[in-house]
């Protein structure tokens, strides 16, 4: 598993910083969707935003990307105050409409050529991102002919290719399935920790992904209820959100009279606590 030792990186200047951000769709008559949201991510840090449907996750990401206007508060990203694909990599929820080229390879080349990459570095980078998302066998296929999960991997590769210092990902593992989604998330976190994927903010409905993040936030009706360490935030999830299996297990064992020692929710920590109590 990756992650953990990010405390020191967290102390440097944030890559993404939202201060009391209020935002909504470009139509000024539409009501505010997110209100007074404050959060930040340092270089190499990964954050996961959980929240029910309609809680404002997508609006927050669109605003952070510079696609939707800020209505109040302040926003700092590597892109400044407008959308810039070199500074902010973005994957939105609608894969079909995001492809421009006839092949997966062409999709990534298109992004890099537009940003003025020279042929040598471009070819190397292309191979790197194809490999990072197991896309080599699909490189010659039309992205529109791929399955949902394969399209998601292709979009992630294209977003990551120009090495943006900030990646904003809106529920990008929907069609990959839980096992494969977790593997891709770990790979992204690994790259972020090595300083090769910038900081990453991800929205998802899968609480298991939130267990493996530096920061977890919970949005409800446009307000950020919490932003902090996964264990702390996940233990206080509102009842309408799915809990990670580790937390379900911990709560059921406690309800059944187990006196589990306090500790973490990651598999090794929880298994250790269970074993300790089981041997008593």
């Amino acid at each position: 598993m990756v992650g953990g030792a990010v405390g020191e990186r967290g102390t440097s200047a944030p890559v993404l910083s939202l201060e009391a951000v209020t935002a909504g769709p470009p139509d000024p008559l539409a009501p505010d969707v997110v209100r007074e949201v404050t959060l930040s991510l340092g270089p190499g840090q990964t954050g996961v935003l959980l929240g029910a449907n309609g809680s404002g996750k997508t609006t927050l990401l669109r605003t952070a990307a510079g696609l939707w206007p800020l209505r109040a508060g302040s926003l700092r990203t590597p892109a400044g105050d407008r959308f810039s694909p070199t500074a902010v990599g973005l994957v939105l929820e609608d894969p079909d409409t995001q492809f421009v080229a006839g092949t997966v390879r062409g999709e990534i080349v298109f992004v890099l050529e537009n940003l003025g990459w020279e042929p040598g570095p471009l070819a190397r980078r292309l191979q790197e991102v194809l490999a990072a998302f197991d896309l080599e066998p699909l490189a010659g296929r039309d992205p529109r002919s791929l399955s949902g999960g394969e399209q998601e991997r292709a979009l992630l590769a294209a977003a990551l290719a120009p090495e943006p210092p900030l990646l904003l990902l809106d529920d990008p593992f929907l069609h990959l399935g839980p096992g494969a989604g977790l593997m891709v998330w770990r790979r992204l976190r690994g790259l972020a920790a090595e300083g090769r994927a910038g900081a990453i903010l991800l929205t998802t409905h899968d609480p298991e992904l939130a267990l493996e993040a530096d920061r977890v936030g919970v949005l409800a009706e446009g307000r950020l209820l919490a932003w902090g360490e996964p264990d702390t935030v996940l233990r206080a999830l509102p009842g309408s959100l799915a809990q990670p299996v580790a937390l379900v297990l911990e709560e059921r064992l406690r309800a059944a009279g187990w006196r589990l020692p306090a500790g973490g929710l990651d598999p090794e920590a929880l298994a250790g606590r269970i074993a300790e109590e089981a041997r008593r």
Partner: protein, 269 residues
């Protein structure tokens, strides 16, 4: 309901090929179509729903496109009308159905009383997903192929969807492609597992999950309950413990309790 030598190959070099599939499944239970991304789940559902024509082979028991339809992933994206009435009439041939029929279709998917003047983008994601199901009701297809109907729904939205699918609005057959088989266990589904366009296994959920090949294909070892169980097991070296899904437990009562709680979350009872 049978598939005989069913094949579909997408055009182009390296195009994906599904089949040949030879499958005999029950008529009276939902089918869960399982498998990794790119294994052919959506292609099979498209064939059953008549959205694609098989290159070879045949489907017996339903008439794709006549009494069976396919609902794609995230179908609510197509709802772009000025109001629900427009969305619901969108795909139908004229004359437009009467408003009582539109209301009836909404009621069939648990949206009774929702005004036809509402815009779908003002509805919740779960409601929008059910409006998409109402399109199938209106078009008169009793048999539905639903492609990842649970995707991108929060817990209340998922719960409502499952209530609806437990008694499908059209009363016909259901084929559901999903990664989250545990959600559908209460529907007592029959399962078909695909990998790279071929059938790996078929049968009861609890039984197919015992098969090693199926567990690899479905990536079970990376799913939270299995990861946790393996971690607990490895902490108890003095008593060899069986795998999460295997019967009967020689382990201590306390560890059996951990196992039972974890099993619950896998949908295998």
């Amino acid at each position: 309901m049978t598939l005989r030598g069913l094949v579909h190959r997408y055009p182009g070099l390296g195009g994906f090929c599904l089949g040949p599939l030879d499958v005999d499944g029950p008529d009276d239970r939902p089918w869960l179509v399982l498998g990794p991304s790119g294994s052919g789940k959506s292609t099979l559902l498209r064939l059953l729903g008549g959205a694609l024509r098989p290159g070879r082979g045949r489907i017996a028991g339903v008439q794709p496109g006549k009494d069976a339809a396919y609902l794609p992933q995230l179908p609510e994206r197509a709802l772009a009308g000025r109001n629900l009435a427009e969305d619901l009439c969108g795909e139908l041939r004229p004359p437009a159905p009467r408003r009582t029929r539109l209301r009836g279709a909404l009621a069939a998917v648990g949206l009774e009383g929702l005004p036809l003047s509402r815009r779908s983008r003002d509805l919740s994601a779960g409601e929008r997903r059910r409006v998409a199901l109402a399109l199938l009701v209106l078009a008169g297809y009793p048999n539905w192929g639903l492609d990842e109907p649970d995707a991108a729904l929060d817990r209340p939205g998922t719960d409502r969807l499952l209530e609806l699918l437990a008694r499908p609005a059209a009363g016909g057959r259901l084929w559901i492609a999903t990664h989250r088989f545990e959600l559908y266990a209460p529907l007592r589904p029959w399962c078909l597992v695909l990998d790279r366009g071929k059938v790996v296994a078929s049968g009861e959920l609890a039984e197919i999950l015992q098969i090693k090949g199926v567990r690899n294909v479905l990536d079970l070892s990376r799913r939270a309950p299995f990861v946790l169980w393996n971690a607990v097991r490895s902490r108890m070296p003095e008593t060899p413990l069986p795998d999460l899904l295997s019967a009967p437990p020689p382990e201590s009562a306390r560890v059996a309790q951990v196992k039972a709680y974890l099993m619950d979350t896998t949908g295998v009872y």
